[in-house]
Structure formats: C-alpha cells, structure tokens
Subunit: 665 residues, 2 copies
C-alpha cells in the first residue's frame, strides 16, 4: 500500500459536482462575451453529479462596482442543462460564475414522499429528516436556524404521521432552503462578460472631413463650420459624427490631389499623415481651430444629441515630433530612413509606422499611445474609430482597451480592419466594441444571407458587432458606381435594417459615385483635397435616409443584427427578412419588422414571398396587419404566399411592421 | 500621463501571435483527447498575427518518457488554419503544444523576390538581408552560424545582382532556417492526449461466471475449470475474458434464485455481494480456487492470446471486513444500520455502499480502493470493468485512474454506467477507456444511425469509446426475447461491425433468451445460481461469431467505430454502412468494408441500396470487386443502384470487402 494520502486528500477536495459547457463563452473564457446594459443574458450550463441526489444551482455575477456576487437561481431545463437569466445594470467588465450544490433537504423530501406514497414505514426516515434539519440549523445564521429549531422541537413531540406532514410541508421546505448549508458547493471557472452602453450595438454614423465644411472650396473649413452643420446632420437622424484625423499634417512626402506624389503648394495633404512641427496625435490642425474650439464642438454636438467620434490612426508623418523625440520607437533602415507604410496594395508614402516591439518602444510608446486616447477622452470623446488595427500588436490592443475601459467603460472602439476573417474576429475578442465588415462588398442575396447568418447565429454573435458602412473615403463601392440612385437606396435600406450599426461617409446622400477609373476610390477624393457640396442637390436621398433612421429609433427590433431571420422570397434578387421584437425565446410573436429589398437597381421586380405567419403561431391561411413604415400605408395581408412589387425608380424596398389583427384570437 | 509602465511591459511580453481553436481538444483542455498508440493524430490550430509578415509553426509533443518535446512542422492549409500530424509511439499521458514564430528570413525573401520582379533597386534591401542574417548567426549555435557567416562574407564582396541571387538561393534559405532564432515565439496552452494500447479501442469480450464452468450443476466451478474452456473461447476469436466479481460472497441478506430474498442453504448468492469473513475485494472466493490458481489462469489465458478482465464493484456485503475495520467509511442510519444499495428501479438488499465523503473516508477509503486495483494489476490483470461508476465520486475516478495509469499505462477501465448521456460522457472524460452504451437498446435504423453518427463525428469521438455488448447478465434485451436465432445474428453483426469493441455474455451464442416474464432479466439468472450449458446445442451461432471475429482481426477498418459512414438503403429495415481503410482524409478509397444488415428477424427482404462508388472516385456507372467475407464468394457489382437479398433463416446480413477492379484505371 502506497503512502500517498496527499493526492487522495487533494482529489477529495475537488468539486464533487460537474459544471460543464457553460454558455455563453468566447474561447472557453479567454475573452469576454459582449452585451449591452439592460439586456437579459441567458446563462446555461450542464450540471450533474454522481448518484441520484438532487442538486440546486445559482448563477453568480458581479459588475465592476459590486463587492459581492449577485445570484439568480438556475432551473433544470432538460438533459442536465440548467438555465438562468441575468440582466446587467452597469457597464464595464463583469464576471459570471455558476455554483451548484447538493439539495440535501430536497432529496430527503423527494425520497420520503415516494416512500410514503407506497405505504412504507418511514419512522426511521423521519428521524433522519430531523437530524438533517438539525445539521442545517447548526450551520445557519440564527434567523434562519430559529424556524428549524422550532419545527424540530414540535416534530419530536409528534407521532410519525404528523412528523411526515410537518417534514413535507411547504413551510419546512422553505425554512430548510433558507438554512441551506450548500453541501458540496462547486463552482465553475469565472467567465468574463463585457457590458457596454447601447451605442456599442445601436448607432447611426455620419462621416465628414471638417476641412470641407466651409462651403467655400478656397477656404479651409473649421470646427466652427461643423457646428453650423450639426442641425442638418441630426435632422437626418444620425447619432455619431465621425471625423478622419484632425491633427497637424506633415509636409514631407505630402500627397497631392488624387493620391499623387507631386503636390502643389496649396495642397492640403492627407489627414492620415499625422504630425508636423505643430504637434502630433494630441494636437489639432491649426486651420481647423483650437482645442477650445474642438471642445465647443463636442459640447454643441451633445446638445444636438450627437457624439463626436475621432480617428485613432497610429502612424506618423515623417515630420511627427516623435521621430526626433523618440527615434527608438521606429524601425530605421541602414541608410537612416524609415520604410513608408503599406497595406498591400495601398502605399502610404507620406506615413511611417511605429514599431511596437522596437527595444525602446516598451513601455514608452505603448503608454504614449494610450495617453493619446486618454487625452481625447478628457476632451469629451468617447468613441474612437481605429485605423488599420490589424497591422498593430494584438497584445497592445488588449492592454490598451482594457486600460482605458477600466476607468472609462463608456468608451467605444471601432476596428477598421478589412482583412482575413479570423484576424477581424480576434480584434473584436481583444476588446473592440464594433468592427467594419465585408458588408460593403456583399451585394448578392446568398452572400448577404450567409454573412448575416454567420454573424448572428455562430460564435461571432457573442463578441463581434458588425458596423455596416455603405461607403467610406477609402471605398467607393463598384456597385454604387453604376447603380444610380436606386442602388444608394438599396444599400441604405440593407445597412439600416440588417445591423444596429450603420454608417455613411458624406456624399452618399447625394448619390456621389464618380470613381478613379477602374478603382474603388472616389475621383477627387476628399482624402487629398477640400470638397464642397450642395446638400440640396436634386436626386438626393436625404428624405429616405431620414425616414430609415427614424424607423430605427422607433423600433428596437432594428437596433441589433442578432435577431435577423431570413424568409423565402422566390426571386434571387429579392431579400426577405424579419426582425422580431422582444418576445421570449420560442414564444409566438406579437410584432415583427419585415423587410423586403430588391437587390436589382435597374429593373422592376414582382416577387412571391412567404409571409411568416408561423412566427405568430398562425396557420397558413392566417392574416396580419401591416404598417408600411416608409410610405405610411396600413393594410392587411392574408395567407402565407404573397407577392410584392419593387420599383427602382421610386423605392426598391419595403419596411413593414407586422402585428396581429385587432380582435382576432 | 499615468506612470503604470509595469502593465505595458507585461502586456508587451504576452504572445504576439494568436494561436486559437486548437484541435483536437476536450472541454478546452480540461480533459485529455484519447487515441491509441501508433495512430496518426492530426493537430490543427488557427495561427496568425498582426501585420503581413510570414509565420512558421510547429506542433510540439511529448510522452511520459520524453524529456524534451518532439516537433513536427505545421503547414498552412487555408484561412489561417495550420495542420501537422504526429504519431505517438508510447502509451501514457502526452502533452501537445503549438508554437508559432516570426518567419523573419522567409518574409525578407518573399519581399525581396517581389521587389526584384518589378525591377526596383534593392541594394538597401540586400543590406537589410545581410544584417538579418548576421543577427540570426549571432544567436545561433556555432554549427548553424558558420554557413551564414561564410555567406555574409561572400555576399559583402559581391555586386547587388549577385547578392540578390545569393540571398534568394535555396541554400541560404535552408541555412537561415537552421539558424532561426524563432522571433516572437508564442506557445499555446498545453493540451493533454491520452495514448492507450490498441485494446482500448479494439477488442472482443466474452463474459462468463467461473462458478458455472464445472460442467456439473451441482459442483461449483473453479478457475481450473475455466482453464479448460480457454481454447474454445479463443477459437471463437475473443481477446478478453471477463468475469463478474470473484471475491468471497456475503451471507447476510444473500439473494436466492431469481433475485428472491429467501435463499436456501445451497444458494450461492450474487457475486456482487462482495465480502465475507473470508475476505473482501482483494480475496478470492474459496470455491473458485486460490490466488495461485487465479494467477495460473491469467497465465494460461495469456498463452491462448486472451487477457482476463475483472469486475471492480465498489460495494460491500454486510459481512465485508471493512464494516468492522472501517465503520467510518459508511453512512450509518440512526438505528445502527446502513441503507442497502439501489439503482432505481433495481434494489440490492445484499449490498451496502461506501460513502466517499464520510468524514473518515478521506483518504483511507480512496487509497484502499486504489490499492484493490493495484493488487489485481500485480496479479496480472490489466483490464477492469467497473460496476455502476456513475454512483461513485467523479473526483475519485479521475484521481484513481490517473494514479494507476501513471505507473501502469496499459491498464484499461470500462465504465458500466447505463445512465444519462452527459454523465456517461463525463466518466469517459475522467479517464475511462471504454464505456457500455445505449447500443443494447438501439434496434431501429434511424436510432442506430443517429447514435453512431453522434459517437463518431461529434465531440464524443475524442474521448468516448463505445463498447457494444449484445447482452449482459443484467440485460436480456426484449428484442432477443422474441427474435429467435435471426435476431442474435443481427445483433452480433451490428456489434462486431459497427464498433471496435464488442462483447457478449455467454449463452448469447446459444441464442438463450428465456426472460423473467415482462422483464429484461434472464430467467434463472446466473447472477444468483450456477448454470451449466451444452456448448454444442443445435441452432447455436458459434460459427458465425467465429467468422465475424476473424473478419474483425483481418480488417483494421472494423477495429474502430470512428470511420463509419452510412449510405442510402431504400428500406427502413435495412442498414447500409461502409468502413474505409486507412486512406488519407478526403482521398478516394482503394478499399472499404461494406456492411448490409436487415434489422428484420422475421421476413425476407429485398432492398435497393447505393453502392458507394463515389468514395472510390468512380462514376455512377463504375464497378467494384466484392469479396463476401461471410460466405466467401467473389463477384463484381456495376452501377450505383443495386439490390440485395436477406434471408433471416440463413444469415440476414452481408459483410463485403470492396476493392477496385484489377486492371481498371
């Protein structure tokens, strides 16, 4: 016989109860699950133990300000799966733990009930029940112990039949639960849950270059000019106003118009060439105004219900102060130069990158970059669009975002990473609240359905929030270059109804699409010059965008991508999907937003589709009330098979609110 | 600016490279993946980093006797997924780690190649290349550094064109790889892999009660009697001979024939009522023989190519020595008794259970039980069938099995847990090599297909090895009670061809099925009395079982359940499945075992089915050579749609070896 009692003692201390397959989780708890404040989170786990005794379980959770765990009882669903719902009330990092324990009194109660039912002598069992209650009482707080002690005294004076009744009474069960000593309590690992404000999942973004806002192509726009535009932007229904970098622009290798390498003296350069003698990432380009002007703009925007989002682009013009102050943050070539930046096939001759792992870069560069973000947070900016994060250290993002959010959990980061799917998902796991997506290039029915299904039903639903930009200063989509106005309406309808997050770069509302020939770039791109527009230009789609944004605000079902369900439309150019409101899982719906979009900008379409009566628990001959949210009509549709008409010259989509008919069971 | 450099420094030290979704794993590495020695294990992971530099990766693994990790290079498959194959050469616990690092020279080489192709001046690049090689040389072992140093000296004396050629030569690439400093080397967590001997996945078990082996119902059989039976059992093709408990049997509450509670003086009792004045779990029932006799039997069995499996049943007759020696290992009732065991609805009045968590049970009981297993291992037993493990502490199993296998990695444990699926899977995760299954009650085509698909394609494939027993002393399946001989052939064919592990309890070969009326129990069960049989009884299926076992030995495709693929048979009573041999994943097959089984024991069947020509890369009008392994015929089948005939009075199944036709491309 080996003397190795330590191993057995340690093993016997391990959890007796198996807690497996906790959900939701991301990479087994390595990364947090994301949610928004106030949304119920359903937590499930497989919970079971040896033998046939009954168990009880709680889900425990706590937020950043909670000293103690909160608890919610889990209930057994089926096949050893348990479930509870918790609703986080604060933003910030939470943790979730599942605890299970032996239901000692419940097991006793179950067994006694069975034995009594088959008429066995249970006098010994009642004695065992009282001993169990004594054990519970002796381990319990006095106020929980007292009712049990009273009960034990009473029962000891009773005959067996009375004892059984007392032991099986609801009052005894409740008293025993209050005094429960949680025998063999076993806890799961702790799993992180990141709770963010609603704008992490629902927001409408408008992007503009402040320098274009003067209304005069020969005058550099300023923050004060932007303030004049705020009412118009807010009237269109946007929540977030986002600017490309607002910092001093370098002179060295400055880009000319249309990305040329031969600028004239009047050329303003790309704002992504950050840094000059006038300062770097924490400075404001002098022609835009002062930092005080910027703060004034932030305040004015807030008054209009808009928040300002800035661009965090970790790169330097060769004139950035850091090159002289911190040469050790860069990767110098043998000839004393630094390689300019590339994001194949794009070349950025006016930009050099820092080297996160240069010997002198840790921790100085990492802290300096974090402090740039902190600086702008202190100026009132709570949302950052991050340029090309996939070319910067993953470890940096995880640290920096956690560091910022520990103090400022309302800060939101949007990743502008157009790269391989696993890299994009990784950035989301590392802490990005939102991500640009492949949406901009998804024009066909099948690929849209597949992409949305992946985002809303597979693993990414727990951590990746898709931001559907219809265009950006970098992307003038081929589809829009030839689609005409109908195409802009189609893309706006898709973005606004599929995702809680959508965005447009200005000009989209004017159906601008003139390209650099053969490229997905805009002709005379604002990245390299000041552009002035006529916002009342005929053929604009401001009315439609305004209506779409209003529908989004008024219908929570449209404030997330997670609830999308695709339905049959018997036309490969017609997309049909529904977004239910907040019914409990699996229950028949009372209301749904139904969206029908023709993807064809050129021709009229008549399509047959299936009205999802079954989602309301209705038979195939049932009927629903329809409110056409774009056109304002109300009507009734009867029967599952329906047909619908789309006119690209008018509005090639429908957004309907479906509800049960009044007065119909 | 906050002074918190420690956080950034720590973050910068974290792995730069993302290694995600490593497979295979069980519960994110909490439990080992299982395999058998000599079988290739395909390891995959998502591996990627920031930026556009190239990466390299190895899978590292080591077994119990390896001081250092072994390495195999991984290669990029697609979409950031990397793969390598390793083949464990030893049994025991292994660990697997994935390591990835910056391919510094490969990246340089790729970029230089591209620039040269477009005709750029690359003199600065060649200088950078030489500096990189210097860095590699200075960090490398002398024998790896020397070729690089030579190359650098040579290149410095060359013009740019020659330098480029030298830098891009295969020799330089190979020398750089040998001197690689593995920049930014990042490692995954370590994942456990349990490697077992082949019998963990492939074995044919025969179960008998030694006390029935005398050939005389009035004489208690002995180990010596069993020795006489070994040739017959081995001739049938079995590998493992398994006995119910062989220990002294208690007198108190001894069971009489047919599970009655009123035994006569001659009744032998249930061998599961372990322990009497003559000893407990480490003693032999005196009428079976001595421990020397047992060792002799083990040796004789080994000579016949059979190994002995014992039953490890953690329970005690009330006469077990432990009740007096270790009263603290039991849960006593207020009246000084111990509750008898139950496994609802079964009652075991002759048995009491130990209490793993009684205050005195840790560590004494845990060690004593482990030492029981060790004792029998020392007598030459390497396989244990464990009775009702689901009613004993999970933590005990995990500790005990690991403890035994650390010293004796050839020991195999079979879990006899007929309970909820997650509990059965948990026991497998905790260390059981094999598990009884629901097979015994799966008689319909759809349920068989669904169950095998779950076992061979879902998570359980990594840790749960199904042992298909056609009957046990506890289970006289309802199907066999009425099916007649054809049903026995059907069940034997299913068990022997679907799983690498199958077993039968004796009497099955004689088509015994007389039940206790209305129950899945045998009439006059051997659990409670000595039974003597005529092994030459007419109508037996010994010939068929012998042939099936031989086919299993001769065809590795039949030695596992993991390779099963179901095909279309257009008859709900006909099962059609294939088991390919060892072709690489996805490659067309050269050989396959095809099995067709009628599940109808009563009527002839003619069924149409699809010959899986496509698995061989053949068109629908292709042809295959067929060898009928049961009947010995050889023929050719041409075309995908085929029909087949089953005769329950003869043999209602077919086991064919399909091969390509000779001389056909």
């Amino acid at each position: 016989m080996r003397d190795d009692s330590a191993g057995a003692v340690e093993a016997a201390r391990r959890p007796r109860i198996a807690i497996e397959a906790l959900s939701p989780t991301v990479d087994a708890g390595r990364f947090p699950v994301k949610t928004i404040v106030g949304r119920p989170v359903t937590v499930e786990a497989d919970i079971f133990a040896d033998g046939h005794d009954m168990l009880l379980a709680d889900v425990l959770w706590r937020g950043p300000d909670d000293q103690e765990f909160r608890r919610a009882p889990m209930r057994l669903i089926a096949n050893d799966r348990w479930r509870a719902v918790l609703t986080p009330e604060a933003i910030g990092r939470h943790e979730i733990v599942v605890e299970a324990w032996w239901d000692e009194f419940g097991t006793f109660r179950r067994d006694l009930t069975k034995k009594r039912e088959v008429g066995l002598d249970v006098s010994l069992e009642t004695e065992e029940g009282l001993i169990l209650l004594e054990k519970l009482a002796s381990a319990a707080r006095p106020e929980a112990a007292r009712p049990l002690v009273d009960l034990i005294l009473r029962a000891r004076d009773s005959d067996v039949a009375d004892r059984v009744s007392q032991l099986l009474s609801r009052a005894t069960h409740e008293a025993a639960l209050r005094a429960d000593r949680r025998a063999f309590a076993s806890r799961s690992d702790s799993y992180p849950l990141e709770v963010e404000r609603i704008q992490a999942e629902f927001a409408s973004w408008y992007e503009l270059f402040p320098r274009s806002e003067s209304g005069d192509p020969n005058r550099h726009g300023s923050f004060r000019d932007v303030i004049r535009r705020l009412p118009m932007i807010r009237d269109m229904g946007f929540d977030v106003l986002y600017f490309p970098p607002i910092h001093p622009i370098g002179e060295t290798n400055r880009k000319g118009r249309n990305n040329t390498l031969t600028p004239g003296p009047a050329d303003v350069g790309s704002p992504y060439a950050i840094g000059s003698a006038e300062g770097g990432h924490d400075a404001v380009h002098p022609e835009l105004g002062t930092i005080e002007d910027f703060r004034e703009l932030v305040a004015a925007a807030a008054q209009h219900g808009l928040e300002i989002a800035l661009d965090f682009a970790i790169q330097c013009s060769p004139d950035h102060p850091w090159l002289k102050e911190h040469p050790g943050w860069f990767d110098w070539r043998p000839d004393g130069t630094i390689k300019y930046a590339e994001n194949p096939p794009k070349k950025y001759q006016d930009i050099v990158n820092v080297d996160f792992y240069a010997p002198d870069a840790v921790p100085g560069l990492w802290q300096a970059l974090r402090d740039v973000v902190l600086y702008w947070v202190e100026q009132g900016v709570k949302t950052f669009r991050v340029d090309n994060p996939h070319t910067k250290s993953f470890a940096f993002w995880e640290w920096m975002i956690a560091d910022i959010r520990a103090e400022h959990p309302d800060v939101i980061f949007l990743a502008e990473a157009f790269t391989r799917p696993k890299v994009m998902y990784r950035l989301a796991k590392l802490g990005y609240s939102q991500s640009y997506t492949y949406f901009t290039w998804r024009n066909h029915k099948q690929e849209i359905q597949e992409y949305l299904t992946e985002l809303s039903t597979a693993d990414p639903k727990h951590f990746f929030r898709p931001h559907f930009f219809v265009n950006t200063p970098d992307i003038n989509p081929f589809f829009l270059q030839t689609s005409g106005r109908a195409g802009f309406l189609i893309r706006a309808a898709l973005a606004t109804t599929l995702s809680g997050l959508w965005g447009m770069y200005n000009g989209f509302e004017l159906c601008e699409a003139a390209p650099l020939p053969g490229k997905e770039e805009y002709l005379d791109s604002e990245k390299y010059e000041i552009r002035v527009r006529n916002w009342n230009q005929p053929g604009n789609i401001i009315t439609e965008i305004t209506r779409l944004n209003r529908i989004r605000r008024e219908n929570p079902a449209l404030q997330t991508h997670l609830n999308v369900r695709f339905y049959n439309a018997f036309d490969d150019m017609v997309l049909c999907f529904g977004k239910p409101g907040g019914s409990p899982d699996g229950a028949p719906l009372d209301e749904m937003i139904l969206v029908l979009i023709s993807l064809d900008p050129d021709f009229e379409r008549h399509a047959t589709y299936e009205l999802p009566l079954w989602e309301f628990g209705l038979p195939d001959h049932g009927a629903l009330a329809v409110e056409d949210l774009m056109r304002g009509n109300r009507f009734t549709l009867t029967g599952k098979t329906q047909s619908v008409y789309f006119n690209p010259r008018e509005m090639p989509f429908h957004v309907w609110r479906l509800t049960r008919l009044q007065g119909v069971a």
